[in-house]
Structure formats: structure tokens, C-alpha cells
């Protein structure tokens, strides 16, 4: 006890203890957040899919939109937390449909004005839902405005141009594209990807933000080139 004995035993023990400390810090700061984030994405995808079972033809819609949205967002320079937020928003945006009666969601005939009003309330319902959760409260705005159009003719608030959050503008294009290429009760047959892309191109500047449409074609174009490459190979 009179002198400090830094024997090999002491040094080995010290190194062991310190590495245990560093290991736990690593686990709690690096591994854990990644694990939890994966759990969030997976669970929210599952819940969104559960809501989609109410609405014929939308199964997988949210997941496809999320994928397309993320790629477009990356091209528009979003990264890190913003990218996570837009992914959650894409998955959740239509979950408000859980509160829209199935009779309206699956109606083949044109909706009456009252039924339209109810259907158009779904972004507000989704936004209300996410604001109840502290973890997701900051995507409420994105979700609320995902049906606003560039020229101000969308709903619920009729915002136009840059007033609409960028993330919502991206979501709008991706969701419309996916709706056009999938089977829905209200259109007789799904459009082919080329026809749907043409519709998006026509909407640039009126319905959709031109910059976002550009990013959309970047994504679609690169997808087609990869597919062609795959075919060639």
C-alpha cells in the first residue's frame, strides 16, 4: 500500500475495465439508436400496411411511396434527420384513413360532395395522430400538407408554391405517381409507368413543383437505365 505497484496485472485489469466502459458507451450511443430506428421504421410500416387493408388497392402504397420519396429527397439535397422525417411522413401520411369509413374508401361510383369532404379530411386526421406522439410531432406539418398542389388548388389549406413544405411537395408527386400506376376503385385500369410519368410531366408548374418533378425524372431515369443495364447483362 505504501507504493503504487503498476504490475502487469494492474495494467491488464485497468485496460479491461476501460474497454468495458468504452464498449457500453458504444452500445448506448451507436448501436442502440440504430436498432431503435430500425424498429420504428418496421413497426410504422406494419401499422400503415394494416390501415391499407381497409382500402382496396393501396396495399404496399406507403412503402413504395416512402422508397420513391427518399430517393427524390436525396437528389434534392435532404440528408440525415430530414431524410428520416420524410420517410416516417411517407409511411404515416394516409394512416388517417383509418378513420374514414370503408364504404367511402372503396366506393366505385363518384363520391358525393359530403363524402369528398370526409375523404379530404384524412391529411388532417393523420396530422392529428402524429402530433399526439412526441417522437413524431415534427412531421405533422409535412403530413398535413401532402395533398396541397403547387398552384394552390389542393387541400386542406389551399397553400401554393413555396408555402408548402418541400417534403410535402415531394410526397405529393410520389404518392400521385404510385396511385396512377396501381389499381384503384375509381379508375378503370392502372396507367403504365410511362403514361403516369407523362401525367407528372404535364403537371409540372401547375400541380407539382417543377424542381421536384425534375428530381422525380432523375430517379425514374436512373431506374430505367439500371433496368436496361440489367437486361443487357
Amino acid at each position: 500500500m505504501d507504493s503504487y505497484n503498476f504490475t502487469p496485472g494492474v495494467i491488464i485489469t485497468g485496460v479491461l475495465l476501460l474497454s468495458l466502459a468504452i464498449f457500453s458507451v458504444y452500445i448506448s450511443r451507436v448501436y442502440l439508436p440504430a436498432r431503435i430506428k430500425a424498429a420504428y421504421v418496421k413497426s410504422i410500416t406494419v401499422l400503415a400496411a394494416a390501415v391499407e387493408t381497409r382500402d382496396a388497392g393501396t396495399l404496399g402504397h406507403a412503402q413504395r411511396v416512402a422508397q420513391l420519396t427518399m430517393e427524390m429527397a436525396r437528389r434534392l439535397g435532404l440528408d440525415g434527420d430530414d431524410l428520416d422525417r420524410i420517410q416516417y411522413a411517407a409511411l404515416i401520411m394516409d394512416m388517417g384513413k383509418a378513420r374514414v369509413p370503408q364504404a367511402i374508401l372503396n366506393k366505385k361510383d363518384p363520391l358525393t360532395p359530403e363524402e369528398w369532404e370526409i375523404l379530404k379530411s384524412h391529411p388532417r386526421l393523420s396530422a392529428e395522430m402524429v402530433s399526439a406522439v412526441p417522437f413524431l410531432a415534427d412531421i405533422a406539418d409535412i403530413v398535413l400538407h401532402h395533398h396541397e398542389l403547387w398552384d394552390g388548388s389542393g387541400y386542406p389549406d389551399g397553400l401554393a408554391g413555396e408555402e408548402i413544405p418541400l417534403e410535402s411537395r415531394i410526397l405529393c408527386v410520389a404518392a400521385d405517381y404510385d396511385a396512377m400506376v396501381s389499381e384503384r376503385p375509381y379508375h378503370p385500369r392502372p396507367l403504365t409507368p410511362e403514361e403516369a410519368a407523362e401525367q407528372i410531366r404535364l403537371g409540372a408548374g401547375s400541380k407539382y413543383d417543377p424542381r421536384v418533378v425534375e428530381a422525380f425524372f432523375d430517379v425514374i431515369g436512373s431506374k430505367q437505365t439500371t433496368e436496361q443495364k440489367a437486361l443487357a447483362a
Binding site: 503504487y4 503498476f6 466502459a21 457500453s24
Partner: protein, 511 residues
Amino acid sequence: MEDKLRGYKIATGFISFVAAVVTLVVWLKVPIEGNPWHAAMQFVVLLTVAELLAVRLNEYEGVSVSPTSPILWAATCVLGILPAIVVGVASAALSMLVKCVSFYVHQKWCVTLENKERGPIGAICRILGELGATWQARPPDVAALYFLWYAACVVADVGPGGLVYYWLGGKFLINAGTEFQIVTDFILPFIALVAVSSGAHIAEYAIGTAAVDPIPGTRGLYGVLLRMRLAIIETALPIVKGQIVLSVVALQLAYLYARIGVFGFLLAVAPVLALRDFFTHWVRERDAYLNTIATLATYMQYYHPYTRGHLKRVAELSERLARELRLPAESIRHMSVAGLLHDIGKIGVSEEILDKPSQLTDEEWAQIKEHPVKGAEIISHLDFLEGIVDWIKYHHKWYNGGGYPVVDNNECKIPIEAAIIATADAFDAMTDDREMSLDWVCDSCGYRPEDGAKPRQCPKCGAEKRRRYREPKTLDEAIDELRRGAGTQFDPQVVKAFLAMVERDGIRLNG
């Protein structure tokens, strides 16, 4: 409350007696070599600081990494048994004093400052609040009892463990210098020490729980033994698991202290702090996640306005029943989530079927009957909720094998949690006045009163409001029905707990 205090007194008396005997044996049989008291002071400081740091952690169920025992184990090997006992008792007194003082200082000066002040004063106030949080204004006699219990437990933990260490030839490192065999004189006896001391810890825990929190309806020795068994299986083991992990740190702490003195503390404290950081982080993230998923999933089920109240009441009642039945902490924690999600499989069933006032067709029934399996399917994909899949799947399965889903009765073992949800669900459905919990809207003109009134006749167009499906049952009628169904539809054990709970605490209908 009186009963609890009495049980507490008996248990404390018993453990104190054991502690006194142990101290006497140590005093007579184990000589104190050299002068360990200076080093003992350092251990008192270390242990007190560690106990205060651990304040936050002990709140969390299921995870316990109390540093007290491991540090005392290290103190035993380094200083000797009697000094270690003194260290334990002294630091218990010291940390209790700090907690008590923080509680009163916080109560007197800090409550308002805490939220107003952003700077260092606010931070100090918050720390004091945290330190005092476990104290809860105890009256002096209860505080004394609490201290006595705690100190006696420390002695009864460390004493027998230390004696085994000594008799197996363990050396007290502070006087051993460099001439000791690390394996035979230190590590092997240390393992025995941890084993004996953990055993003693479990025994104390079981005795304490049996005395303070007996299972309702059981009396006498059999009841006590039953409670002890439960306590050991469900709560004591996780605590001990945590301690055994920390004992590795304790082993190294003792060794380092013998070699390099107080610097050893610093090295040993680093991983403990890091582990604490990890557990706090983990628990917070997990709770936030569960909360988020439960909120989203609950909201998804609001397609039907009556579900809002129903789900909340089922969740609350299920959690109370789980506590009443003394289920493991893990089950209790998940019970309210399960209560909120139990009908999630109904998401795909259309409102027309759910709301249909007339008899359902066979096809419509088949759709409704699918909901437990569909719900289980959804939940099986949610991370961290794997444990509740079967609870949801079998919440419409009867105790006698009836109900749905139809599965091979020999293979189907209904988890008790599913039986709890079934009982809570049925009780709430019986007593729920479904129409009254709907938002009132006139069927013919769509008028909705601003003030939330629920008139019999629409004030605007005069139309009669449609009748209820059926009259809700009164509490007595519902209880009768549960009693009649016990053994056929409902699990008798759950019904028994339910009746005991209602008799004792009452129940709120239609919250």
C-alpha cells in the same frame, strides 16, 4: 397500510436478529489485522457516492444494477469483514441522510425554482429533487425502521459471505502485501463470497416481500411460502443477475485498490457509470418506442368512436388485474399496451358489420372471428412486442377450450395474460353503454349539439334517436355473469382476483 407496517416490523426484527448473530460471530472469530480504518473511510465515500448515483436506476422495473453489494464485496476482500460491515452501515446512514436532507431542502426552496431557473441554480434544484425522490416524507419511526431494515440486510448479506471467504482461505488484500496467490487466496474464495451473499440477498428479498406484500386471500405459512416463491422467481433473480455482472467489476476493484489505492476507484467507476448510462438510455428509448407504437395503433382503432373509451378502460383494467395477480414486471409493463391493441385485427372489418344492429350473417361472423388472429399477425411484426402476440391471439378463447380461434385444444395453452384481457374486455362490454359513448349525431338531419348533450329527440328536426342495442348491465349483474362464467368462459383464477380487487378498491364504470 397498518398490515404492511406490521409485516415490515416483523421482517425487520427477524433480519436484525440474524444480523446481530452474524456480527457477533465475525467479532469473535475473525481477527482484524493491521489498521484498515483509513481505507474504510475511502470505501464509505465511494459507496455513498455510488448509491446516490444509482438513485435513478432503481426506479426502473426489471433492470436493477444496485452497486451496493458489489462494492461491499470488494470492501470485504480488501479490508476484512467487520470493517466492511461498518462501511455498509455507515454509508447507508450517510446516503439516507443526504436523501432526506435533499428531500426537505427541495420541498422548501426548490419546487418553484426548478422549472423557472435555466442556469446552475435550476440544475442544482433538479439534482436535489432527484436525490430526494426516493425519500418520500417518511414519519420518523418509519424512517428508522427503513434504516434498520436496510442496515440489517447489509450485514446479513456481507457477514455470511465474508465468513465463507475467510474460512476458504481468502486473504484480506490490504495486509497481504504482494505475497498471495491470486487464484487460491483471492478469486476462488471471492466467487464463494458472491454466491453466498447473493443467496442471502434473495432470501432477504423474499422475506421482505412476503411480509409487506402478501398475495391477497392467502394466509399463514403456506401463503408466505407461496409469496416467497413468486418473489424469488420473478423479481429477485434479475436483481441478482445484475449484481453478478457487477461482481466482475468488484473483483477488479478490490485488486486495483490493493495495488494502486484510490486510483483503482476511478478505473472501476468508469464502466459502472457507462453501464448506468446504457441502461438509462435503453429504458428511455424503449419506453418512448412502446409509447409511440401504442399511441399510433390506438389511434388507428378510432374508426369507431366507442372504441376510444373501451380500449383505455380495458388497458387500465388489465394492468390492474396483472398487478393483482402479481405477474412479472415485464408482463405488467406490456399489459396496458396489449389492452390498447387487443382489437387491432378489427381494422380490416368494415363499420357496417361492426355497427350492424341486426343479426350477423355467417359470413359476417366469420370476418369478425378472424380478428384475434389478424391482430396477432400484425403485432408479430412489431419489434419488442413479440411477447404479447399470443395474448392477442387467444383473447377470445374460452377457458374450457371454446371460443375462437379454433385450434387443437391439447396444444393450445392460453396465457394468463390472454385470460386477463378476455375478462377485462367482457366486463367492459357488459357494462359499457355503447350508445352513450358515441358522439351524438342525429341520424336524419346530421345535427350535432355543440355542448355534447345526448337528447332522446333531435332538437332540430324532432326525429327519435334510435334505441340502444341493449341495456348495459349494472356492476352486480356483470359480476354475477363473470362468476357464472368462471371455469367455462373465464379463467377462475382471474375472476377470483377480479372480485377481490373490486371488493377492495372498487371500480369505475364507463370512465
